[in-house]
């Protein structure tokens, strides 16, 4: 039995031949016709936006969806074009992708790998999506990326920060624009050393799953290289509501810095608890006690209210950046929705444009052609300065932002201020770096 997992959309259009076959099952071997899964026929192309719409990250997912809708608008030549005007590659013309109007389908990942895969599968099998993108956690990104690899679909990761996505779980059909744990560590450590000195005793609280592990490892190794000492690292259960029993012993340990390797709701809770316990008013070892949050999500940090003031962290992008690309995107997004975009929205928007651009340059929707066009692609004007899509692991290399909770916010969006834009050279690592060891890209898969 030859490969024939073609889905209906592609088929319908090739189906002119088959249309007459009423009684005969039209058994098509796609290879002879299109060569890849869900090849868009006719004058439209369908993209799949798979974002969390229920569960704790639903608001982040909603922001991603807004960015996708904006990107589709711009690709189809509506609206003000956003970053298409500042993007260094000029292949996109505002007439869809390769002249085909962009349409999209949406799904709910529920931030569960199973549900995310079910949703992605229905996009591939039912809706004929040729590319899947989105998501707000690494578990989902890794799971959907593997699925897309099997199906022969391109996956453009949304928000995923774990090293594993482009480390041990990397796949040839998957691409990540977002930064990762290693980069957070590399960018944060010098800033922390600068602000808090090189003689610090750190206490880590780490979310007890993959992303937490890679983040703790990254922050530990980069801060220890600066001279910090790690007093203890304690794993905290998933969705622990109340972190008091983890926070309370911190002072007894003699640590003078607390690193919260938590994301989203966990980060909001652990940070709120830490501030409640008055850690930041304390003096330990003759120094002010400090708290660090390696990965900030502005959208969710809002939930911690005033507690984030003065706390360092890193982020992929922030709306207050003043380069042309960021300004164009913020203007476009802000005009349409009335508030500035989040980093999740930014990375999703950029990923969509990058995909479309790669298809244009490759002249084909075939995944292998797109992979080739994206590998080693250098671009600028997308808000993060000159950026490279590295061929070896499909990770974007670009500047990383170190941010701090703002002391005097002027609005509910004005929560973080940029402390430093860490240049890309400082966060670049070798593809075989130990934190990314294991796994292989494999070959690109055209499916069908």
């Amino acid at each position: 039995m030859s490969k024939s997992n073609l889905t209906r959309r592609g088929l319908l259009k090739t189906g002119a031949v088959a249309g007459a076959g009423v009684a005969l099952p039209t058994y098509l071997s796609a290879a002879g016709h299109t060569g890849f899964t869900n090849a868009p026929e006719g004058n439209t192309v369908t993209l799949g936006f798979n974002v969390p719409q229920s569960g704790p990250y639903a608001d982040e997912g909603a922001d991603e969806l807004r960015a996708y809708e904006l990107a589709v608008e711009h690709l189809n030549g509506e609206g003000d074009g956003g970053m298409m005007g500042t993007f260094s590659s000029k292949a996109l013309q505002g007439n869809g992708i390769l002249g085909k109007k962009v349409e999209y389908v949406t799904g709910d990942t529920q931030t569960k790998s199973d549900a995310a895969r079910a949703s992605a599968k229905s996009m591939i099998e039912k809706d004929g999506a040729v590319m899947i993108t989105g998501g707000s956690s690494s578990g989902v990104a890794v799971a959907v990326q593997a699925l897309c690899q099997e199906a022969g679909i391109i996956f453009m990761a949304g928000l995923t920060h774990s090293n594993d996505t482009t480390g041990k779980d990397k796949r040839a059909n998957g691409f990540r624009h977002f930064f990762n744990s290693y980069m957070s560590g590399a960018a944060l450590a010098p800033v922390l050393a600068n602000a808090y000195g090189t003689d610090r005793k750190a206490y880590h609280l780490t979310a007890d799953y993959n992303w937490g592990y890679t983040t703790e490892e990254a922050i530990r190794s980069s801060t220890e290289a600066m001279g910090w000492e790690t007093v203890a690292a304690v794993k905290t259960p998933l969705a622990q509501g109340d972190f008091s029993s983890y926070i309370a012993p911190v002072l007894q340990s003699g640590a003078d810095t607390l690193v919260l390797n938590h994301y989203g709701g966990d980060m909001v809770n652990s940070l709120t608890n830490a501030v409640q316990f008055g850690l930041r008013d304390k003096q330990v070892n003759g120094k002010n006690f400090e708290i660090v949050v390696p990965l900030y999500s502005r959208l969710m940090a809002k939930g911690a209210g005033a507690n984030v003031k003065g706390i360092f962290g890193s982020t992929n992008w922030h709306w207050s950046l003043q380069d042309e690309g960021s300004k164009a995107f913020v203007k476009s997004f802000g005009t349409k929705y009335g508030f500035p975009p989040s980093q999740a929205a930014h990375t999703c928007y950029v990923q969509t444009l990058l995909y479309a651009d790669a298809v244009e340059r490759a002249g084909s929707f075939a995944p292998c052609a797109v992979v080739e066009a994206l590998e080693g692609f250098e671009f600028d004007g997308m808000g993060n300065g000159p950026t490279l899509y590295r061929a070896e692991d499909h990770q974007c290399f670009k500047d990383v932002l170190v941010v701090k909770g703002k002391e005097n916010p002027t609005s509910e969006f004005d929560i973080l201020e940029i402390v430093e834009i860490t240049p890309v050279a400082q966060v670049t690592y070798e593809p075989d770096h130990p934190q990314f060891a294991g796994g292989a890209l494999g070959d690109c898969n055209n499916g069908a």
Binding site: G55, A62, G241
Partner: protein, 343 residues
């Protein structure tokens, strides 16, 4: 020693939340025989009463500040709460600062109303139905309630800080002769503990010392006989449901400064509170309270670094492990009565 004392304090605090939720759940179990999967949602709605009140208090009108700009470069619109206009900025800000404690007054009538409407409109039709049907209908209700909250308030946690007077922590250790900074404890958590103790005491006193409570206790023991005596037990059960809802809601209100509320916090507590109730023993109010504090304290112990190093993952499973051990050694939980929900 100080480390253990610290975790006892933490455990008491965690335990107060568990005990309060389990108390309400047991009231409904015990008096009405209904498995109420919407009880977590009531806790969540209580928390959102606090959010709603602080939103109401900060209702604002926009004033354009020409000197500053917003993210698009337009003049910045600054929200000025109406309270500032009415009471002046200092007094207005003070009222807003006290939004959470004020929410108690707001939440009590709201929660009782919700409880009574729930019981009259839905639950009372399910007294004679199998437990499975009760689970399905209350679970459906819980989903509906939480989706409504999500629709209006979004999915992100919403900060609801305690009044400034209660922020920060005090050095409990120094007070009793330990070295400074070994046992620190946030003020608000002490408030929460005291509040929980007060509510639990009030509920027990109410059931123990009032005629109403006596009838309800009698109804819990033998509903039929009480009915035959010509006492309108239904009406009292409605009130009990309202009371249970209010207890859950108040637990939610006071919990908001500890963890910023979000729409799924009820579901997060639901399973845990069922475990607490069952470990305490079905139909036993003291059992529920005892189990709440016990599990809270054990959970705190299990999260100590030394313990985790010894048994990795113990902090993930401690509550369930304890539940299994207790249920295997004491067939009806800590203080359960024979025959309640055993078939």
């Amino acid at each position: 020693m100080d480390a253990i004392l610290l975790q006892v304090l933490n455990g008491l605090d965690k335990g107060s939340a568990y005990a309060l939720i389990a108390l309400g759940l047991t009231l409904i179990f015990g008096t009405l025989g209904v498995v109420n999967f919407a009880h977590g949602a009531l806790f969540m709605i209580g928390a959102f009463c606090a959010v709603t009140l602080s939103r109401l208090l900060t209702l604002s009108h926009e004033v354009i500040d020409e000197t500053r700009t917003d993210f698009l470069g337009n003049p910045l619109k600054v929200d000025v709460p109406y309270l500032y206009d009415i009471f002046g900025e200092t007094a207005g800000a003070a009222i807003i600062d006290w939004a959470v404690p004020l929410s108690i007054l707001f939440a009590i009538p709201v929660m009782i109303l919700i409880g009574v409407v729930m019981e009259r409109g839905l639950i009372k039709h399910f007294y004679k139905r199998p437990h499975a049907d009760q689970i399905l209908v209350t679970f459906g209700l819980a989903i509906v309630l939480q989706e409504i909250i999500k629709y209006y308030y979004g999915a992100n946690p919403i900060p609801t800080p305690a009044p400034a007077a209660f922020t920060g922590s005090f050095d409990f250790g120094a007070l009793i002769g330990f070295e400074p900074n070994t046992i620190i404890y946030p003020y608000w958590r002490l408030v929460y503990f005291a509040f929980a103790a007060l509510i639990i005491g009030a509920v027990f006193a109410f059931l123990q010392f009032t005629t109403f409570g006596m009838v309800v206790r009698a109804g819990m023991a033998d509903r039929e006989t009480v009915g035959l005596l010509g006492i309108n037990i239904d009406k009292r059960f409605t009130i009990m449901f309202g009371l249970a809802a209010a207890v859950a809601g108040l637990a939610g209100v006071m919990y908001t400064p500890i963890n910023s509320p979000n729409y799924h916090m009820g579901m997060d507590f639901l399973v845990l509170s069922f475990v607490v109730v069952v470990v305490g023993g079905m139909g036993s109010l003291p059992g529920a309270v005892l189990a709440g504090f016990l599990l809270g304290i054990l959970e705190s112990f299990a999260s100590m670094r030394e313990v985790i190093d010894l048994i990795p993952g113990i902090n993930q499973v401690i509550i369930y492990l304890v539940a299994i051990i207790i249920l295997l050694t004491r067939p009806r939980g800590l203080m359960g009565r024979k025959g309640v929900m055993e078939d």
